[in-house]
Amino acid sequence: MQAQSKIDFSHFSADTLQVVISGTWKIGGKLPAPGEVFRRLTSDPRIKNIIINGSGLQGWDTTFLTFISTINKECQSRNIGLEMRELPRGVERLLHLASAASEQTEARQQRVRKPFLYMVGDSAVHFGTSTVEMLSFIGGVALTFLKFLQGKASFRRIDLLLLIEECGAQSLPIITLISVLVGLILAFVGAVQLKLFGAQIYVANLVAIAMAREMGALMTGIIMAGRTGAAFAAQLGTMQVNEEIDALTTLGISPMEFLVLPRLLALVLMVPLLCLYADFLGILGGAIVGVGMLDITLVQYLAQTQESLDLTNISLGIFKGTIFAIIVAMSGCMRGLQSGRSASAVGEAATSAVVTAIVGIIVTDGIVAVLCDVLQI
């Protein structure tokens, strides 16, 4: 059983308070607070000196040091002399060590709260610079792509193939699941309304057109943003942390050609195919509802689908998918290359890549919808 830690006070002389410390002072024990000493000081303004006597101390750790240093600080601010007697040698040495290096005041001042207007202005300026950065990145990618078309861009073919596998074949399971479910959902929503008119057969039209025009491309884009865009940002961000990108740059190899181009190509090649695949599976999902619940035969359903779909709808979806692929690849790579050099910066880069990509996809989709309406496509 450890001895109870406690403080005893005695008056050494009229203006000197003796604080006798005894027992075991260790983390986890129940310790007296330095406040007890301060109360004594406040209640008796005559005290000009404190003597801390550690003769009864049986064990100690950092908690004892913090106790002493709190009293020390308070004494300094009240102009009271502090004397230590019979403290273990280790305590004195550590206290001396902690007071040896003066506090870096510069390091503290940076945490000052900034005024509201300052922050507004700061983020406005930041928005300006980040827009310029984004535009120059897009320009850089365009130039690199031009170089690729001329056959002068240098990247490893094997990287491209690996990336195609990563964002093509390996995305199939998740695309399958989501597309079938979206098809099902569309069919359910449509069925409830169309049943009122006895026009259940038109569920096939609804699902086919919605999938081909909108949902196939949109869902693929968003899945790729979360799956591949984030992965790109994290890969490039980690390369930034490890100075791998510096190593490329100083070797005269452009990270745009070597890292961004294959990622862009892989997505632009794969997403339209995934889009088509999503369309097909969405229609299949609709057929499950149509055949299973609406008493339409499979042949009827497919014939109706075939009648309602034309090349315009399908190619519009694929066109949008291609644009979404560019958006996902660019935002992933851009955020990755912009990433700072710490673990949390890489995390932020991945998050920011997904947010940028999804916003980009939805805004583009909106613009295309308006354009289609104006052009009557």
């Binding site: 240098s154 990287d159 980690t238 390369m239 490890n242 100075e243 791998e244 510096d246 190593a247 490329l248 740059t249 100083t250 070797l251 005269g252 190899i253």
Partner: protein, 265 residues
């Protein structure tokens, strides 16, 4: 390989004049002036956070100086276009602090990439060179390993093999012996001297390891954190013997300033 004969030592290779480095408004070092001669083993030293690595980034084209110039022979490095800069950099090899190997590629592919990119050598020749370079740094047989499968010291040595791939005229080392055990650090020092002697390479080393500084350096600068500029330069032993700057003395003697004078000889 007889670069040594063509251009003898004591001809300037890199000249830095009035260089000021800053991040935004925060000046890291100002008014740096020094010359790195051919065949030098040039040490950039100073306490942690004094801007050693930042200086290196200015020399290798990763960060533009706020003020001042860097000359490679007679070309002003930051005033020519980026194509010319990358031609200059092609003649130098850099060993980064953590090795900076490309993690998606094997060691062989890492070392081969500069060769693939800038030479017309056949696949077989490249393979031979890669094996030779890896063997030189003591990593023979590790061709098919990925960087993540190696220890930190091995990654660093592989990084050196990559830096040496194109037989560079200048080798930059960023904290080469940080994280290495004393024996590996010594071997790396020996390798640096060997490269300098046999290939006539100019070597620039950013470090704060005292044994290395004294063992390999034949010229050096000391970057001071407080005054934010160079407060000592010269051959390390001479510098220790002659300098009046207290902080240089402290640094070179691990803080044992009192006995500095007697040890210097």
């Amino acid at each position: 390989m007889n670069r040594q004969d063509e251009k003898t030592s004591n001809t300037p290779h890199i000249i830095v004049s009035d260089l000021t480095m800053a991040y935004g408004d925060f000046v890291i070092q100002r008014d740096l002036n020094f010359t790195i001669n051919r065949n030098d083993v040039f040490i950039v030293m100073g306490g942690s956070g004094c801007g050693k690595t930042t200086l290196l980034r200015h020399l290798i084209g990763l960060k533009r100086p706020v003020k001042g110039k860097v000359f490679y022979e007679d070309i002003s490095f930051w005033e020519v276009d980026s194509g010319e800069r990358s031609r200059i950099m092609r003649k130098s090899g850099i060993l980064y602090q953590g090795g900076a190997l490309w993690s998606s590629m094997t060691l062989a592919e890492n070392v081969a990439l500069p060769l693939d990119e800038y030479t017309d050598l056949s696949r077989g020749d490249i393979k031979e060179i890669v094996s030779l370079k890896l063997a030189m740094v003591g990593l023979a047989g590790y061709e098919e390993f990925y960087p993540a499968e190696l220890s930190g010291g091995m990654q660093k040595r592989a990084g050196l093999a990559r830096a040496m791939a194109l037989d560079p005229e200048i080798l930059f080392f960023d904290e080469p012996s940080a994280g290495l055990d004393p024996i590996s650090a010594k071997r790396l020092d020996d390798l640096i001297l060997e490269l300098r002697d046999s290939l006539g390479t100019t070597v620039v080393v950013v470090t704060h390891e005292l044994p290395s500084i004294f063992a390999i350096g034949n010229n050096s600068i000391f970057l001071d954190t407080e005054t934010r500029t160079i407060i000592g330069q010269g051959e390390p032993h001479m510098l220790l013997a002659q300098t009046d700057a207290l902080r240089v003395k402290e640094f070179l003697t691990r803080g044992e300033t009192a006995s500095a004078g007697s040890r210097a000889g």
